[in-house]
């Protein structure tokens, strides 16, 4: 009916006020800000400029934006995005285009309808920002960005009292706060899908992470990436910092430049003889879009849904597209593969021909010096790194064709992968089976949260050398060059000259702050169908089916709706104590036969009542006297008098009279 009313009584839409337009601009700025992390920088910059220009235009050149301005802007945005991304479809270019269109919408925000459309789609774009990152910080930022959106909607309503921006922000915040219980209820009990309805989230940008091959310089990007790779909580005491080696890939093949993992060696799992303590722990791994599950050296068995390769690497049966948790036990001291069969030995010795002659010569020289003492040769190699003038840096000069020679005798600078690569090469050249292992090393132990935070920058590469009688032994040549890289608690791979925007104290603060991220990841991000079903375990329900969740959701919504209705329907009682008592008394007397007249003073009503119930005249007279005294004798009567009147009025119950 209202719709039809609006149709028949055409009320012309007034142009929006400057305040509303400012709020819309703030909303759009928030949208651009939360998308900034994955928009191309030039687009963010241009959108910012466009927003300012739109604001300036409305201020100084009010009126409709001409088509010759709008059309090129839109086409330019389209062209820019297509040129940058290659197409328009897909999550990244799609969201970039949507954000761009929203900003351009400010050029044609003239009526309330325009603003409503813009704000509604701004909400959509805000939620889309969470698709690329649903961390705590982004979520809070998006939640705060909802406030100017709601404020824009509020400011559209006509006939408001004038307010400052701060005064206008408070009710919106209050509305959001009041909405929180209902939102939480819905969040907890809306049944999660165990299978996506349509396409699974595509990993359309390869996330940086460990890869299955390694060539000098590959890890640089990773070592400066401070995002969390995984979080590990140990049963009992955490292992010492120098034991925190998480193996991910074991690499055998070397082509002179690149170490390669291949597809992981199948076959019989290398025998493991635990010697010493065993650590049991749970790893929460961030999505990697790969299969490998890092585990502390050396995992004893595969967790559910994963398997062990011949070299004791863990790999999951399916790709890890979401946060993944798994429990593993690892032997911290071990004898790994005490007997080496011939094919494996050959594999551990293979070297590309015609590469790095000087390194081979050096290895042969060591062999002659140390005879059959393989461990002596390994120590000599470590000694070379320690005393040979080597330098640890994340920005080494590039290496030539004979990369190992170039590194060992020429540049002498690099980071873990250079050292591990050269060390393994030297070992193989000396006739000792050796291989490169990559994974994570170190991490920050958060005492408050009792867990180890491992960042991408903790990525590391080291060597394993097969020694007769001991099996595969871990050698970390990087430790010979930069011992603090291994020993320190939480220092990432930085070479001491970190970027100016990451001072040490900030790094430390971020490490401590990570506990919040972890709680967020555990409580909110990782709340999936599985955890939802076990939500009611404290109440004795082992596994709640979706129908039960829906029932609980419905009853919870009803409960909250009842509370909300109670709030909405509540009316503050009018008048003071005496007036309310009189009103109740009158209502009662009306039920017992004495009608009330609208234009009647209380004194008159009491005298009529006294005629109506002659037997109760005394009581009624004292009631009338007291009421008159309360109302007319003083401007502020004593509260106990009012209470006495209320009590007397409550206790006055005359008999029913039927006329």
């Amino acid at each position: 009916m209202n719709f039809l009313y609006a149709l028949t009584h055409k009320v012309r839409e007034a142009p929006i006020s400057a305040g509303t337009f400012n709020l819309v601009c703030i909303t759009m700025a928030c949208v651009v800000a939360v998308h900034a992390s994955h928009l191309p920088p030039w687009l963010t910059l241009l959108l910012g400029i466009a927003l300012l220009a739109s604001h300036w235009r409305r201020r100084h050149r009010p009126g409709k934006t001409p088509m010759w301005l709008k059309l090129p802007l839109t086409l330019g945005l389209l062209a820019g995005i297509v040129l940058w991304y290659g197409n328009l479809f897909g999550r990244e270019p799609g969201s970039a285009f949507a954000v761009g269109l929203l900003v351009l919408k400010t050029f044609e925000c003239e009526t309330a309808r325009d603003v409503r459309v813009a704000v509604a789609f701004a909400c959509f774009a805000l939620m889309a920002a969470l698709l690329s990152d649903q961390g705590l910080v982004v979520t809070v930022a998006v939640a705060l960005a909802i406030v100017p959106a709601l404020m824009s909607l509020r400011s559209l309503e006509p006939g408001q009292a004038q307010r400052t921006i701060a005064q206008a922000a408070l009710p919106s915040l209050g509305l959001l706060a009041a909405a929180l219980p209902l939102a939480l209820m819905a969040f907890l009990f809306v049944p999660r899908l165990s299978e996506p309805l349509w396409g699974a989230p595509a990993a359309d940008t390869a996330k940086p992470g460990l890869s299955s091959s390694m060539s000098p310089g590959d890890l640089t990007e990773l070592l400066t990436d401070d995002s969390a790779a995984m979080r590990v909580s140990f049963d009992g005491v955490a292992p010492r910092p120098d034991q925190r080696y998480f193996r991910a890939f074991v690499m055998w093949n070397f082509d002179g430049r690149r170490w390669d993992h291949g597809y992981g060696r199948r076959g019989e799992v290398a025998g493991l003889l635990p010697q010493g303590p065993v650590a049991t722990y749970e790893i929460t791994l961030e999505a990697t879009h790969r299969r490998t599950l890092p585990a502390l050296d050396v995992p004893m068995a595969a967790p559910e849904g994963a398997r062990l390769s011949a070299d004791r690497e863990l790999s999951s049966n399916d790709r890890i597209d979401e946060v993944r948790r798994y429990r593993v036990s690892s032997a911290l001291g071990y004898g790994l593969q005490a007997d080496l069969d011939d094919s494996t030995r050959r594999l551990g010795l293979q070297l590309p021909p015609n590469f790095d002659p000087r390194a081979r010569a050096l290895a042969q020289q060591w062999r002659q010096t140390f005879g059959q003492n393989d461990e002596g040769i390994a120590r000599a190699a470590l000694g070379l790194f320690h005393d040979g003038g080597f330098r640890y840096t994340l920005a080494p000069v590039p290496l030539g064709r004979d990369s190992i020679d170039d590194f060992l005798f020429n540049t002498r600078e690099g980071f873990c992968e250079h050292y591990a690569s050269a060390f393994t090469f030297l070992m193989r050249a000396a006739g000792i089976p050796a291989r490169v292992v990559t994974g994570y090393q170190g991490g920050f132990y958060n005492r408050l949260g009792q867990y180890l935070l491992v960042r991408q920058s903790n990525a590391h590469a080291w060597s394993e050398v097969w020694l007769a009688g001991r099996g595969w032994v871990r050698f970390d040549p990087t430790g010979a060059v930069r011992p603090e890289r291994i020993a320190a608690d939480g220092t990432a791979a930085g070479d001491g000259s970190g970027p100016w925007y990451q001072p040490a104290w900030l790094q430390a603060a971020r490490n401590r702050w990570d506990i919040v991220n972890r709680l967020w990841a555990q409580g909110v991000t990782g709340f999936d169908a599985l955890r939802q079903r076990s939500l009611l375990q404290p109440f004795g329900v082992r596994e709640a089916p979706p129908s039960m969740l829906v029932t609980i959701l419905a009853s919870g919504i009803c409960l909250l709706a009842a509370i909300g209705l109670g709030w909405a329907l509540y009316r503050r009682p009018e008048g003071d104590v005496a007036q309310r008592a009189l009103a109740r008394l009158k209502a009662r007397l009306v039920r017992r036969g004495l009608a009330s007249r609208a234009s009647e003073a209380p004194g008159h009503y009491f005298s009529r009542a006294a005629r109506f119930w002659p037997a109760r005249r005394k009581e009624l007279e004292s009631l009338a006297t007291l009421y008159n005294h309360l109302t007319y004798a003083r401007s502020e009567p004593a509260p106990e008098l009012a209470r006495r009147f209320a009590r007397m009025a409550r206790e006055f119950r005359p008999p029913r009279v039927v006329k």
Binding site: F3, L131, I146, R154, E157, G159, A183, F527, R571
Partner: protein, 304 residues
């Protein structure tokens, strides 16, 4: 008003007559009219419906990509929208239309009205009132009544009933519209309009048998010119053949007796004369002054 609007008004009138309980269009009621939960209705606006669809899409997307942050925030926005419905209700609940005051005007003029709105104990933002095709928007502070001013067009003399008004709000987010119909039982007296170029009142002693002039009811279209006739009614061509001016009489509607009488009463009142008014059912004896004037005009306005 568009043809569609006219048709819709006709449907509404019919519905109100036949199905008062269904249409909830209230019959006139006495002042003051307080709004309470039984007479406040709420429906989502077009924007509210569209936004709901958008939220549903967002929830589906969040569930599909198992993105819990987005789900949480979408639920938050949805819950805030639902909460805004209660806020809209509270904005109207307890408002009362306490009084209407009107000045007397003559038919055809707009009558200035003042409407008193008592806000009760709550501050209310963005109340809107639709009355007679106009929309007023206002805010009321707690405990401070507000007076709205508007002008209603009048068409004929006599008592004019107040039109039905709609008090509504889309506060705070524009997603829900809460409204209530107000139909105060209040009448405004409209005096008859004075005839513009009527003849002067004749002295009762002279020309008694001439009878009252009734232009227009004679079949002849022409009559002699009398002072006061508008110039455009003079038939110039025909008058050229005669010695006197002829006036076309057909186009002028027959003025009602009340027009002419009110014109005379007005003139007498303004000039400070004493006058008496004889109507078929009653007689106002010779007197003068405001009170006499209003008594006479009221009687004229209410002539059957």
């Amino acid at each position: 008003m568009t043809p569609l609007g006219r048709a819709w008004s006709a449907v509404l009138r019919r519905a109100e007559r036949r199905l008062p309980s269904l249409t909830r269009l209230r019959s006139p009621e006495a002042l003051p009219i307080p709004l309470h939960r039984r007479r406040i209705y709420i429906v989502p606006t077009g924007f509210g419906l569209g936004f709901t669809v958008l939220l549903a899409v967002m929830v589906l997307g969040a569930l599909n990509y198992s993105n819990n942050s987005a789900l949480l925030l979408t639920c938050l926005v949805g819950a805030a929208g639902a909460g805004s419905m209660l806020v809209a209700f509270r904005t109207l609940d307890g408002v009362a239309l306490t009084a209407i005051r009107a000045q007397t005007v003559v038919a055809g003029e707009d009558v200035p009205l003042t409407i008193d709105i008592a806000p009760g104990w709550r501050t209310r933002s963005s109340l809107q009132m639709d009355v007679a095709g106009r929309r007023l928007a206002f805010a009321v502070a707690a405990g401070v009544p507000i007076t709205l001013e508007l002008a209603l067009p009048t068409e004929q003399r006599g008592y004019m009933a107040m039109p039905r008004m709609r008090l509504f709000t889309t506060w705070p987010l524009g997603m829900f519209r809460a409204w209530s119909w107000l139909h105060p039982d209040h009448k405004v007296l409209v005096y008859p309009r004075a005839e513009t170029f009527g003849p002067p009142p004749r002295e009762p002693s002279i020309d008694d048998d001439r009878g009252r002039p009734h232009p227009g009811d004679e079949p002849t279209a022409l009559r002699m010119y009398r002072p006061g006739d508008p110039r455009r009614q003079i038939a110039w061509k025909l008058s050229a053949r005669h010695e006197f001016l002829l006036v076309k009489d057909m186009e002028q509607p027959a003025p009602e007796a009340e027009w002419r009488l009110s014109c005379w009463v007005n003139e007498a009142h303004l000039a400070g004369h004493r006058w008496s008014l004889a109507l078929p059912d009653r007689l106002f004896d010779v007197a003068q002054g405001d009170e006499h004037f209003h008594r006479c005009m009221t009687a004229l306005a209410l002539q059957p």
